[in-house]
């Protein structure tokens, strides 16, 4: 995770946590606000005004009774309704709320005491007692201001509580607003970050693509160059070869020895040049993936013998003799003989090139562990430790190699061709080398069924 990613996650987490906190606060407030809602018909304010109302109706009914316009039963009903309301106000949710408001409700106790005191009087009101009813009505009327006070106090307390909730709601709303702002900024920051990042990525991709295209163009140019060079070289070379061959076969005893020697040297040189140009062409076909193989089942011993005699003149030019040590004639492989010949040729010329004059390059062909193993051994100076990993690379040359001075032109592609061809035959090529003592290359190929 980059530093940028961490910041991004941090912003995200803060925003989410803030939103969760405001949701919790709002949910917590909802229930509390519902309790004090003025529309709640069982809220405390309805109770207290209800008592006022019922007291006023008792008082009014008593006055009507005193004037003769209402009966005793009506007074008793209003009295009972007030009684029920007063007994209800002492219990239930509204009563708890009133207790919580800490309002002086002694007027209710006094009113209860009055009801109990005049209960008998109300039950026995009759026509002669109508004047008495006026006095009773006065007693009830006297309560109204005190009850009004309770209602007003309750209203105040409810309002104060509602204001408290409103304030809390406002503060939650303010916080939500700030949070929304922060959320907006956070989202903007994140978006900005993403935009920057994607722009950066796009630029990098473009750059990489351009580099890749450049490299591909360069590689193609190189390959095409090699192909052209090949073509231009092979024409004159084949003319040269034919001429030298014609010269060589017409050399007679009457020719001066120096002339004969010069013709032989020219023939060796042109053979070497042909081999180099062929290598170059092979390397080109591998590079462009155009190489194709013609497989057949054949014995390797014959091929080895032929290659030894072909490359012997080249080796002798270095004062080196190629010798066949142990060739198992029964070993057969499925392979492209021309390509395998090239492999052998490359290994032999390589070994000769890096040998000391008077040395021998020995070739053997054996079956080892179910595989056909071809070994080319020289007693030359060996491969330096530092270069061992790279000798199969294309165009690789040990630049400081003194062998190069003696071998003339070297392209550094011989071993890369060896590896390509051997691998195309499902085989492998390895070597053992001791600096100063020599190198042995092993080519392992599957034996033909």
């Amino acid at each position: 995770m980059t530093r940028f990613d961490r910041i991004r996650w941090l912003v995200f987490a803060v925003v989410i946590a803030g939103m969760a906190a405001s949701v919790v606060a709002l949910v917590g407030m909802r229930d509390g606000m519902r309790e004090i809602g003025l529309e709640n018909p069982n809220g405390p304010i309805w109770f207290t005004t209800g008592v006022e109302y019922d007291v006023a109706r008792v008082e009014g009914t008593l006055t009507d009774f005193a004037r003769g316009s209402a009966g005793q039963d009506e007074v008793a009903l209003r009295f009972d309704i007030l009684w029920s309301r007063l007994s209800q106000i002492g219990k239930g949710a509204a009563a708890q709320k009133l207790d919580g408001y800490d309002i002086d409700v002694t007027a209710y106790d006094d009113l209860r005491a009055l009801l109990t005191r005049v209960e008998g009087q109300v039950a026995t009101l009759d026509d002669v007692a109508r004047r008495e009813a006026f006095a009773l009505a006065d007693e009830f009327r006297a309560f109204l201001p005190g009850l009004r006070q309770i209602s007003l106090a309750t209203l105040d307390a409810s309002a104060a509580e509602a204001t408290g909730w409103r304030d809390r709601l406002l503060s939650v709303s303010d916080n939500s607003l700030i949070l929304s702002g922060a959320l907006g900024v956070g989202v903007l920051l994140l978006a900005f970050g993403f935009a920057l990042e994607s722009q950066h990525t796009r630029r990098e991709l473009r750059l990489k693509k351009a580099l890749l295209e450049e490299a591909q163009v360069a590689d193609l140019a190189k390959t095409q160059f090699i192909a052209v060079v090949n073509h231009e070289l092979r024409g004159p070379l084949s003319t040269l070869n034919s001429a030298i061959y014609a010269l060589d076969i017409s050399v007679g005893k009457d020719m001066p020895p120096k002339f004969v020697k010069l013709v032989r040297t020219a023939r060796t040189g042109s053979a070497q040049l042909t081999s180099l140009v062929n290598d170059l062409l092979e390397a080109d076909t591998y590079a462009t993936g155009q190489s194709d193989y013609a497989f057949e089942t054949a014995g390797l011993a014959e091929l080895l013998k032929a290659q030894i005699s072909v490359n012997q003149p080249y080796a002798r030019a270095f004062g080196v003799e190629i010798v066949a040590e142990e060739l198992d004639r029964d070993l057969r492989v499925d392979g492209d003989l021309r390509r395998l010949g090239q492999v052998v040729s490359n290994l032999l010329t390589n070994a000769a090139k890096f040998s000391n004059p008077g040395d021998k390059v020995s070739v053997s062909l054996k079956r080892v562990g179910g595989k056909v193993v071809l070994a080319v051994k020289d007693t030359g100076r060996g491969i330096p430790e530092a270069l061992r990993e790279r000798i199969f690379e294309r165009f690789f040359q040990a630049d400081d190699a003194p062998g190069r001075e003696r071998s003339g032109i070297g392209l550094g592609i011989g071993l890369s061709i060896v590896r390509s061809v051997v691998e195309a035959h499902r085989g492998e090529v390895t070597f053992e080398s001791t600096p100063g003592r020599g190198t042995t290359f092993f080519v392992r190929l599957p034996e033909a069924a």
């Binding site: 529309e39 809220g43 109706r57 009903l77 309704i81 029920s84 949710a93």
Partner: protein, 167 residues
């Protein structure tokens, strides 16, 4: 929910005292009017005496609510059976009126969704006016926890005297 409580209070203080015809003494006296149409309109009415209400199928509910201190047994006829006496297709609202002119509206759906009763008895005994009787609308709140809400508590009309069935 429409509440005409304040309005009624204002009318009272203006001196308009409605004459009541309640005599809770005899079982044959009318204790409940079930009326079709708004309270002030003429319409088909069915009057019930305590005797008639007791003759209907009785349902018992054991429940708590904001006005009782513990689980209490209430019994009486189902509200929907009383409403069915006058209800017509398309009716949706009941206006419940109490002795002290407290009024509250409730949807008829409540009486169909729940076994709402017009309680005649509390713990097996009739209720006096002082005990919030003689008729009290009771919802089965203990059996249906979703009813424990101020909206439904407001519909627990005690000292019920009239039901107006309206579209």
């Amino acid at each position: 929910m429409k509440i005409s409580y304040l309005l009624t209070a204002a009318l009272l203080f203006a001196g308009t005292v409605q004459a009541e015809t309640s005599d809770t003494g005899k079982a044959s006296d009318t204790v409940l009017m079930v009326h079709h149409g708004a309270a002030t309109e003429a319409g088909r009415s069915v009057a019930f005496s305590m005797e008639q209400l007791r003759a209907l199928q009785q349902t018992t509910i054991v429940t708590t609510n904001e006005f009782v201190e513990k689980a209490t047994s209430f019994s009486g006829p189902l509200l929907r059976d009383l409403v069915a006496e006058v209800a017509e297709d398309g009716d949706s609202t009941l206006t419940l009126t109490a002795l002290n002119d407290y009024q509250v509206e409730m949807p008829i759906a409540d009486s169909l969704d729940y076994d709402v009763i017009v309680a005649l008895e509390r713990d097996g005994a009739p209720m006096s006016v002082r005990e919030n009787g003689p008729l009290w609308i009771i919802y089965p709140m203990t059996d249906h926890p979703e009813l424990n809400d101020a909206v439904y508590s407001g519909r627990l009309v005690w000292q019920l005297v009239q039901i107006d069935v309206q579209p």
